[in-house]
Amino acid sequence: MIFTLWAVIFVLGIWIISTYNGLVALRLRVQNAWRQIEVQLKRRYDLIPNLVETVKGYMQYEQDTLQKVIDARSQAMASKGVKETAEAQSALTQSLGKIFMLMENYPDLKASKNALDLQEELTTTENQIAFARQYYNDLVTQYNTKQQVFPANMLAGFFGFQPSEFFSVPEAEQALPKVNLSLNR
């Protein structure tokens, strides 16, 4: 009789430990994924000045558009909080799209190697941001699910695990149209 009692306590203890560890590990992975997004955003900020420099020489008459890009970039870097960041990011993408549209009028620029490289770099940066966000959201789903399913939700409440927020700003995303960053070759 006493043996079964100890056995039950033992099994319960194992379950508590493994669930707690699983939740802690997931929480850390969620934080890591968030940092990844920030890394990607920073990468994009660093890339923009290169683009402007490359393009400036060819496009003397488009100074104001270029200026808009620089301003949008500073705005994005200064923004805080998820919603503001997302809006500033969209504005930046928009102005970049305008530059690429203008590049159509400058065949020398379009054909230059630098422009093609930069276009690839910007495409991959946008993709990397998108995939980093996707991974973050997937992890958040996993983490929140693990906290909220039946046996574990008692534990999660007891140890103080909070559900994480998804990275999504639906109003900002849906309001702005898609931007085409491809050069017609």
Partner: protein, 308 residues
């Protein structure tokens, strides 16, 4: 562990070990154990590099824009799957194909032929890279290595079984039992390599489907991979450097015999990869596109989207 037990069984039955009459040392058991351990360790640690050098894989040349694009695509997919960056190699061959090796994340590698880089655009390459990366994430290479070791082991053991069977000592012992017992034993010994082979092929095919599905989970875009498979199927070039042993690692079956393009019972059982058309159809179904073989006048299901 498995080999240990089988080796012990053979020792007991055929070499009369553990009894006064047999050899003093359980030969077969130790041999089986050593054999299993050494092959496992070799395959686990050295496997990827051996395969890569045998296929003529070379490192990326970052001067070329295609290679830079490939590296970017792999970075994106590594981010989407939450894994570390694998090593990237290129094989200079016009046949479009891709492969992944690596038994754990640290020594994982993805290899792509130059033919594939020229044939496919960015979205399609992304689908292919996602497929390869998902092989690594699902630990398929480890699984298939273990399966092929077991397969080889079963073939060898069935060989030993057959030979031990005919030794005179055994004949005398087993002769005293019901002779009908011979028949299932013979059948099993003869057929076990074949059955094991079929099972291994089935496992390989299922993992290919799983990799397609996981790739879609990473890219959220089944059409990319579907279009890539269609283009590779239409290109129809076999990849000559691949051998039977390495064929299962590739994206599409590199050996490209006539057998692969037919879909029938026997053809399906003996290949490492599922039929390409079926893979494309499954991907289309994931995307909600209607199957081309169905009548155009009816709408199948609730989510038929023809336009983007």
């Amino acid at each position: 562990m498995f080999f240990f037990l089988i080796g012990g069984a053979i020792d007991y039955l055929y070499f009369d070990a553990f009894t006064a009459a047999g050899p003093a040392f359980p030969v077969a058991t130790v041999f089986a154990l050593g054999f299993a351990t050494s092959t496992t360790l070799m395959a686990y640690y050295g496997g990827p590099d051996i395969i890569l050098s045998s296929l003529g894989a070379e490192k990326l040349n970052l001067q070329l824009p295609e290679h830079r694009e490939l590296q970017n695509v792999v970075t994106e997919m590594a981010l989407a799957s939450g894994s570390t960056m694998p090593r990237i190699y290129v094989i200079f061959d016009p046949a479009p194909n891709a492969l992944a090796t690596g038994t754990n994340e640290k020594n994982s590698a993805i290899c792509v032929t130059s033919g594939l880089l020229t044939l496919l655009d960015r979205e399609e390459t992304q689908g292919v890279v996602a497929h390869e990366l998902s092989h690594i994430r699902n630990e398929d290479i480890l699984l298939m290595t273990l399966v092929s070791i077991l397969l080889g082991g079963i073939a060898i053991l069935s060989d030993w079984g057959r030979r031990g069977f005919y030794s005179s000592r055994t004949g005398r012992r087993l002769g005293s039992k019901n002779p009908l017992l011979f028949i299932p034993l013979l059948v099993l010994i003869a057929l076990s390599p074949l059955i094991a082979q079929l099972l291994a092929m089935a496992v390989s095919r299922q993992r290919e489907y799983l990799a397609d599905a996981t790739a879609t989970q990473y890219t959220r875009n089944p059409r990319g991979l579907a279009r890539a498979l269609e283009r590779i199927r239409d290109a129809g070039m076999p990849f000559h450097k691949a051998s039977r042993g390495t064929a299962h690692l590739f994206l599409v079956n590199p050996l490209r015999r006539r057998l692969d393009d037919r879909e029938g019972g026997l053809a399906d059982l003996l290949t490492t990869h599922p039929p390409i058309n079926h893979r494309i159809a499954l991907l289309h179904r994931m995307a909600g596109i209607a199957q081309p073989s169905m009548e155009s006048s009816t709408v199948q299901g609730s989510n038929v989207q023809r336009a983007q």
